[in-house]
Amino acid sequence: MHLALPVVLAALLFSIGVYGVLARRNAVLVLMAIELMLNAVNINLVAFDVWLRDTLHAGQSLTLFVIALAAAEVGIGLAIVLQVYRLRATVAIDDLDQLAEPSPEERR
């Protein structure tokens, strides 16, 4: 099998995930895009493991770990999103800018 196929798939999937992170307004949608990026990484890991065939099976083992980590990360991420929703009644990224540098009027 041509190795370029899975690796290119991973690259494109990653880029789509990048677009999603930067373009989506809802925080949950951003989390979804992050999952896409993680999947791309996984495909890469598996493809290289199949290519290199090392004794430790590092690629596929690490893929399992990444999947578990992704699950933990989504859990925490959603917990944060829920807390933000409770406090601000919105999860739109555009509206969450309290850490901005205050403008001169606001400074006074």
Binding site: V18, V30, D94, L96, A100, E101, P104
Partner: protein
């Protein structure tokens, strides 16, 4: 001998240092200190003058500048020691006189210390063996002159006069400094003996430039045209200062330097020709201006300008002995005239001659001594002025006939100008004599307090015009002696001329010149006396504004130099505030503005930050691959 020489220099300097440290109430200590220091210095200078001349090998090395070294040493030849004696004597008499003149002044110790410092500086100029050492004394004299002219803090014209004196002489001093440097660097040494010996080895262009630059300094310090404008205004200072600095010593320093370096000036006649032209102009200018003044001290100031021009004229025509002789006699009679004027001011409380008159009965000692001084100024025999002025005119005549050092036309110019000035000098001296001492007496304005400005030694109460105390009249008598008798010292070539390193040149009058100049003097005197007879008590000379304002040269100087400089100063200060300060403040403002612009990057939006990070990462990756 060298040790005594150093003491002559060092004692007034030490007295100055101690005097500056004294509290302002210690008047008596200051008087004792300065008079005694100057007195001892006078005695020592006489001893040094009568001793053998010391050629002045380079003394202590002060500052090695690579190939050039600055030494500090003493050159005790005849010229230096005689002039040093004159300086010390006049300084001593002035210090003594000041005890009474400035009695009641609340800054006496400072004044006495400054006078002492000035004396030390003048002695340094006279006795120096090294040009840089001379320059140090030259500059210190300038500072002391500034401080002393501005002594009367409450007098409104004192401070501007001091600044004017300082600035005008400063213009000359720049030239003087450059001249000294050109000479020293060109010859490779600043030692005066070496400079004189090796001046011939310098290229003529450089040498002439150096001489002309030195003459600029001479013109400034000795108040010759065009840098003469400061001297009449400097009369705002106390009268003893006018006697010391602006008659006898500092203004003669320029003449002394030219006499000192005379072999250098002699090598190319261009500089001396320029000096001759300047001298001729200044002679006439000073005499004419003196005719138009009402202020007693101003007449004497313009007279000084004119008489110094005689000395520089003598130098220009190749008669340095005559110049030095006239320097000595002028020191005596001009100091006498100023101190006598101080007595008159003190006695009457008036400065303007139009407020004086008929003082000869009330101030007998002043009258008789001032008469001797004026006679010497005019050049009447047998006073010393007759001999020295005749020597100057004789030197000019010799040069005009081709026997002198320089071109003949210089001799003609100086000679003709000198003779005309003789007549004018006689006129203004007579005018001064008549207006002050003869005619109806004007009541001194006891109603208005002229206060301290002109003679604080008076007694409070109804104003009585009477002779000042003995402290002020004894110096007059002392100075009257050389005024009358000094001329005879030149008759034998083994007396004064030998002392001035010119053995074999006797200074005796030439018959022809003497007759012509006496005739001109008589003419001037007669004119004024006749005018006085017609209208006693008023000004015999019509008061022409062009004379009173001294040909408006002050106004010319103001328009041509002072105003443009003030404008330039305003521009520079505006540029400093706008550009330099503006740049500094602008950088602060710029930093603030930049930070405000940059702080807009902190939008608080997570996606914005993430975009930045990812875009930069992509760019870096591409750059890493491409580069």
């Amino acid at each position: 001998m060298t040790t005594l020489g150093w003491l002559v220099l060092g004692l007034p300097f030490a007295a100055a240092v101690v005097g500056f440290l004294l509290p302002q109430t210690a008047t008596r200590s200051a008087q004792v200190l300065t008079v005694s220091a100057t007195g001892v210095a006078t005695v020592l200078s006489i001893i040094v003058a009568t001793g053998a001349p010391v050629a002045g090998k380079p003394g202590v090395t002060l500052a090695p500048f690579g190939t050039l070294t600055v030494h500090a040493g003493l050159r005790l030849d005849g010229l230096a020691t005689i002039v040093a004696v004159a300086v010390c004597v006049v300084a001593l008499l002035v210090q003594f006189y000041s005890i009474a003149y400035l009695a009641g002044d609340d800054a006496y110790p400072r004044y006495a210390a400054q006078v002492s410092l000035f004396t030390a500086a003048m002695l340094d100029v006279v006795l120096a063996a090294d040009l840089i050492q001379l320059l140090v004394g030259w500059e210190v004299m300038g500072i002391c002159s500034y401080l002393l002219i501005g002594h009367y803090r409450d007098l409104p014209e004192a401070r501007p006069a001091a600044v004017k004196a300082f600035l005008v002489t400063r213009v000359g001093d720049v030239g003087f400094l450059l001249g000294v440097l050109v000479l020293g660097v060109g010859i490779g040494s600043f030692d005066i003996g070496t400079v004189i010996a090796h001046a011939g080895s310098m290229p003529s262009g450089t040498l002439v430039t150096a001489c002309l630059l030195l003459l600029l300094g001479v013109a400034g310090k000795s108040a010759q045209f065009p840098l003469h404008t400061w001297l009449p205004d400097a009369m705002a200072g106390p009268t003893p200062i006018s006697a010391l600095i602006h008659a006898a010593t500092m203004v003669a320093a320029g003449i002394y330097v030219v006499a000192r370096l005379y072999p250098v000036f002699r090598l190319h006649t261009v500089a001396l020709a320029v000096l001759g032209v300047v001298a001729a102009i200044t002679m006439l200018l000073g005499a004419l201006a003196a005719l138009g003044q009402d202020d007693l001290k101003r007449v004497l100031a313009w007279s000084t300008v004119s008489q110094i021009a005689y000395m520089s004229g003598a130098l220009a025509v190749g008669a340095p002995v005559a110049a030095t002789f006239h320097l000595l006699t002028h020191a005596a009679f001009k100091a006498l005239l100023f101190l006598a004027a101080g007595c008159v001011l003190n006695a009457t409380g008036e400065v303007l001659m139009s407020s004086m008159g008929g003082l000869r009965r009330r101030l007998p000692i002043t009258f008789w001594t001032m008469t001797c001084g004026l006679a010497a100024l005019v050049g009447l025999p047998p006073t010393s002025g007759f001999f020295s002025k005749d020597a100057v005119l004789g030197g000019a005549w010799e040069a005009a006939r081709g026997h002198g050092g320089g071109p003949a036309w210089v001799g003609w110019l100086v000679g003709v100008a000198g003779l005309l000035t003789v007549g004018l000098t006689a006129a203004y001296a007579t005018r001064l004599w008549l207006r002050t001492f003869f005619g109806p007496a004007h009541e001194p304005a006891a109603a208005h307090e002229t206060g301290h400005a002109h003679g604080p030694g008076h007694v409070h109460g109804p104003w009585v015009v009477r002779e000042p105390c003995w402290i002020m009249t004894v110096p007059l008598i002392v100075l009257a002696v050389p005024t009358v008798l000094l001329g005879f010292a030149g008759l034998r070539s083994s007396w004064l001329p030998a002392r001035l390193d010119a053995p074999g040149v006797a200074v005796h009058p030439t018959l022809g010149i003497a007759l012509v100049s006496l005739a001109l003097s008589a003419g001037g005197i007669a004119w004024v006396v006749l005018a006085w007879r017609r209208a006693p008590g008023t000004d015999p000379v019509p008061a022409l504004p062009v004379l009173t304002r001294a040909f408006y040269l002050d106004d010319v100087q103001d328009a041509v130099i002072v105003r443009p400089y003030r404008l330039l100063a305003r521009i520079v200060s505006a540029a400093d505030a706008g550009l330099v300060d503006g740049a500094v403040e602008g950088s602060g403002a710029g930093a603030g503005m930049l930070s405000r612009r940059l702080s807009r990057l902190q939008t608080g939006n997570v996606q914005f930050y993430a975009t930045g990070v990812l875009a930069a990462a992509v760019l870096l990756a591409v750059a890493a691959v491409l580069l």
